[in-house]
Amino acid sequence: MYVATKGGEQAIGAAHAWLAETRRGDATLPELTVPQIEEQLGLAVDRVMAEGSCHDRGLAALAVKQAKGDLIEAAFLLRAYRTTLPRFGASAALDTGAMHIRRRISATYKDLPGGQVLGPTFDYTHRLLDFALAAEGNALPAVPHAEPNTAQTPRVTELLAREGLMQREATSEAEPGDLTRDPLSFPADRAVRLQALARGDEGFLLGLGYSTQRGYGNAHPFVGEIRVGEVAVCFTPPELGFEIELGDIGVTECQMVNQFKGSRTEPPQFTRGYGLVFGHGERKAMAMALVDRGLRAEELGEDADAPAQQQEFVLYHCDNVEATGFVEHLKLPHYVDFQSELENVRTMRASAMQAAAE
């Protein structure tokens, strides 16, 4: 006698217990602490903050621990937490020009006001596995200390804009749309596009940005500037009526300079591709800036036939929490639909075989 599979509830409970056990791993080894993750896996924490679109290093580190290092799962955990928080208002626009800079480089000028500040970067490391790092307790190399850079560090794109060579962005006092409250609709304005890209998947944007360099979108980008550091978030509570500083957040900003041949209404000039992400995330900020510029093709009267230039394609597919959900849901049972397909294919095969026999 056939008995249908029962006991989903016990199976789920047991699976969760097993998951907790594998998360802990070998119990003879010390358990990772959340502060250790926050301090020593800082770039993973930053990526989770960016894609989870919630600036909280402690919670992001917790999410990394809970997700066993699966960063998309960690971003999802953070998003699901974020969505329960009340939204009490919109901050003033960040002034990244006044950033406390840890790293600032420009690829368009050899030297410039504020200077080139290399900061903590992998860029010129040789990618040789450091076997000494496998043992703990190594003495750190001496880090030379310098006086903090208090010089004004104007944005490179602003220098160009003053000369009229860089297109100025239209400013608006209107509160930007919020795609966590209102679903995307098309055509999406630039503020909404940038929001979607800022929380978009690093790998997806990297691939798309790369494609614009390889001829799918005809980009001619220069890194005007990348800056990484702390910037103040200011907010005007309605009950106070004046602006207060809520605190500093770490961000990475990338401004790409792109050529624009000009149109009937605008002379030839440079145009901007913009990227801004939480934490230290240069790869993501650069890819975002390339894709942002790609998505401006239509507005600038350029051909828009490459994937990175198509709003719906980019914006609907860049969110990794949505993408991983829909891809992975395929492992949920589909036997009802599959049964219909079985009958369907059997019918089609029967008529095809009959036709062949005749």
Partner: protein, 283 residues
């Protein structure tokens, strides 16, 4: 706010519920029309029924009795998980009996038992847009719905007939609602489509990832697309249920060994169990 769970009744906060209820009301007022809504991240992944969960959470009251099915069954892992979620965050009574439930959340099936006016059926929807395989751009399909321009779908069905001799869509079979909007019934088998027509229960559809809600009010005409000379035909495995003997219910095929052995059992576990109990009582 419930002190024990730390979350609002049914997890979703009240202002979000109000936003969702407005979308539902708009959906009911325009049967079959997809209403965009500010879908929230849920503590379950997209694709697991986040749209259905948000709709259920917004309509659930403390006295409701909830049934959750996946593939027609109450004991599939995802149904178990969603039922446990609402037990935990709403503390509502749950049931596996179709007749006892006031709200039924479903994935991929409509229960075999006819539903009544005092019940609401909430569908989990992966892709709310019935035209998405024919036209991927949402801005374009929106225009097509506005103009009731559904020629593309008719041509697709016609091409099926020209190629295979019959319409080769066996699930997620497109329907016209109230003679106006083309609608995806969610991936239920075409076998279930006729149950939607003039159903006494309110039918609500939630697509979380795609951020759309739509509805079919009670007693609304729902017609599966077809042609006069090729009428709609629901597909069902031509067998009887091994457990209860039903020749009317939708069947799952179960592989019993690796030598081609198989059997067919009802996909609706409550319907099947009830019939088995009645048979046992009669003997």
């Amino acid at each position: 706010m419930n002190a024990q769970t730390g979350y609002n009744f049914a997890y979703v906060d009240e202002s979000t519920k109000r936003m969702i209820r407005r979308a539902i009301l708009k959906g009911v007022a325009i049967p079959g029309h997809q209403v965009p809504f500010g879908s929230r991240e849920m503590p379950l992944p997209y694709g697991w029924g986040t749209g259905g969960i948000q709709v259920t959470a917004s309509i659930l009251g403390p006295s409701d009795v909830l049934k959750v099915i996946d593939q027609g069954a109450d004991d599939t892992t995802n149904a178990v998980s969603i039922r446990a979620f609402f037990r935990r965050v709403a503390g509502v009574a749950t049931t596996e009996r179709t007749a006892e439930a006031t709200v039924i959340q479903t994935r991929h099936r409509i229960p075999e038992h006819a539903l009544t006016e005092r019940q609401i059926l909430v569908y989990q929807v992966p892709m709310p847009e019935p035209l998405f395989r024919l036209e991927a751009r949402v801005a374009e399909t929106k225009r097509m719905h506005a103009l009731a321009d559904y020629g593309l779908m008719h041509v697709k069905l016609y091409e099926d007939i020209a190629r295979h001799g019959h319409i080769a869509t066996s699930y997620n079979y497109p329907v016209m609602v109230d003679g106006r909007y083309l609608m995806s019934p969610s991936p239920i088998p075409a076998f279930d489509n006729p149950k939607m027509d003039r159903m006494p229960a309110l039918q609500l559809f939630g697509a979380g990832r795609e951020k759309r809600i739509y509805a079919v009010p009670p007693y609304t005409a729902v017609r599966s697309l077809d042609f006069e000379d090729h009428p709609f035909r629901p597909i069902r495995a031509p067998h009887a249920c091994t457990l209860c003997g039903s020749r009317e219910s939708y069947l799952d095929e179960v592989i019993t060994d690796d030598r081609g052995g198989k059997m067919f059992v009802c996909s609706d576990t409550d319907y099947c169990a009830e019939r088995q109990a009645a048979k046992a009582a009669a003997e």
